[in-house]
């Protein structure tokens, strides 16, 4: 395995016919580990990485039923921002944002994190009131945020339609300059490689089919590649969280839904920032490759099929075209769906369970990608100390019993 990527290693490989070592070693599972992470997506790999890097636990297995970078981590629309309304959510996502800002150097892997700014548009007077309130809340929490007018948006994004004749005219927006995008599959590869360098076993093609619990304590997992024992297990399986929970005899307050996205053919640079609209429901950015990346909404019914209804993408395409009439002749290249686990309050669960040694990090719903490093970081500390990281405390499963929900749903300018 290549020790470190550098100028020198690039030059050397370039001169020797691109002779690169495998980035993530293929390993056989051992029979016992200190910690098992179920799910090799961004959040699971980040958890393993921070456990190894900061918590002194390196005897870790990450078990993944598919391959690294083959799930939701590489299916999202790659948007990163931290302009949430509530203190609890804002602190967690801002923690993540600060980790993003140093992530490529930290992982020694270029995740192409690009702080190109994020606009959250408002189309009604109430949208604008909510935006002003959220921007003020962000500033009080130390998160960069501005209210910008339709005229200023037009100056920054000349191709946007700010006409008052639109069905839902753009009245203004919030703007987070530090927001942006990152290359999502690179994030998975980067965390996987960095974790593997610290001694973590990344076990691909290994599906968990059972969880062993004895006298209220977790003992290990049964997988398609044999039984693996561990006293502590972190479940980070996104859309399949309820399926994993059921193996341990638990229920979760989440429902799985398909979330769709689509990309156009690649074209020359036309959109330099990220534009999101909650009201008409569409969000768009242009990848470094040149394709327009467009996110749609979820289907209302529960589903584990990685596809959704065509009317959902039709709705988002209509919203995008109203904002950007110039895209009306753009040809779409691919469309897909991923399964997201949605909580009643649209906030995640980062929590121990009533089974000793079994932890869940789930319920990120439609907006988990932006939280990848922060989520892994606080979850690693939660597992290592068997005590919730202070930033994770409000996200305990107990909140559904006590009623202390985090009212972020619809309040954060979220189309995720």
């Amino acid at each position: 395995m290549q020790k470190k990527y550098s100028w020198y290693s690039l030059l050397k490989a370039g001169l020797s016919g691109q002779d690169w070592d495998q980035a993530i070693p293929l390993v056989e599972p051992k029979s016992k580990y200190d910690v098992i992470i179920i799910g090799g997506g961004g959040h699971g790999l980040a958890t393993a990485y921070y456990l190894a890097k900061e918590c002194g636990i390196t005897n870790i297995a990450v078990v993944e039923k598919g391959y690294i970078g083959g799930g939701n981590t590489a299916r999202n629309t790659t948007i990163i921002r931290s302009n949430y309304l509530r203190d609890e959510a804002s602190s967690l996502y801002e923690h993540s944002m600060q980790l993003w800002e140093g992530i490529s150097e930290d992982l020694n892997f270029n995740v192409m994190f690009s702080q190109r700014g994020v606009y959250n548009l408002g189309h009604t007077l109430q949208d604008m009131r909510d935006i002003e309130r959220r921007v003020n809340a962000n500033m009080l929490n130390g998160v960069d945020a501005q209210v910008v007018t339709a005229k200023e948006i037009k100056e920054q994004i000349p191709i946007i339609n700010t006409s008052q004749n639109a069905r839902y005219p753009i009245m203004g927006s919030s703007y987070q300059p530090r927001g942006g995008v990152a290359r999502h599959d690179g994030v998975a590869w980067g965390f996987a490689r960095a974790a593997a360098m610290l001694g973590v076993d990344i076990i691909q093609d290994c599906e968990v089919i059972g969880i062993e619990v004895e006298e209220g304590r977790v003992k290990g997992v049964n997988t398609t590649r044999g039984d693996i024992m561990a006293d502590r297990i972190g479940c980070v399986s996104a859309g399949h969280s309820s399926v994993i929970a059921k193996m341990a005899g638990l229920r979760l307050p989440v429902e799985s839904h398909p979330l769709q996205a689509f990309v156009s053919e690649a074209m020359k640079p036309v959109l330099h920032t990220v534009v999101m609209s909650n009201a008409v429901h569409g969000y768009i950015s242009q990848s470094d490759k040149g394709d327009l990346v467009i996110g749609a909404g979820i289907d209302g019914y529960s589903s584990y099929a990685q596809r959704g209804a065509s009317r959902i993408i039709e709705h988002s395409a209509a919203a995008i075209l109203e904002m950007f009439p110039i895209f009306s002749r753009v040809r779409m290249n691919r469309q897909w769906g991923g399964i997201v686990d949605v909580c009643p309050d649209a906030c995640p669960i980062i929590s121990p369970t009533k089974i000793q040694g079994l932890y869940f990090n789930c319920g990120w719903g439609t907006g988990g990608f932006k939280a990848t490093p922060g989520s892994g970081h606080v979850f690693a500390h939660t597992i290592a100390q068997d005590k919730q990281h202070p930033l994770a405390k409000p996200f305990h499963l107990d909140r559904f019993t006590t009623g202390a929900l985090i009212d972020e749903h619809g309040a954060a300018g979220v189309a995720h």
Partner: protein, 91 residues
């Protein structure tokens, strides 16, 4: 996208006419004031979220506006059974 047979209209119509209305067979506790917070949380928030054949509720929102039950595979979206409330669904 799929077609749903409305048991009241007795017609097969496009899914777009219907709205999903969550998991079926969630009964409101008889005496909410007498049960624990955990039991209430389970009723309000916790769901089976089953992967496989799953009973759920739909409403014919752009039709007769009545609620009914559907057994649908959450893996393939195939609809296996449709029933009005109170109907015998054993077979």
């Amino acid at each position: 996208m799929f077609l749903i047979h409305c048991p009241y209209c007795n017609e097969e119509r496009e899914q777009e006419e219907f709205s999903p209305a969550g998991e079926a067979f969630i009964a409101r506790p008889e005496a909410p004031e007498d049960i624990s917070d955990e039991a209430w949380a389970d009723y309000v928030f916790y769901r089976t979220n089953h992967k496989g054949d799953h009973w759920e509720q739909w409403v014919h929102s752009n039709g007769c506006r009545k609620y009914f039950m559907v057994e649908r595979s959450t893996i393939t979206h195939e609809i296996l059974k449709v029933a009005a409330f109170g109907a015998d669904i054993s077979e």
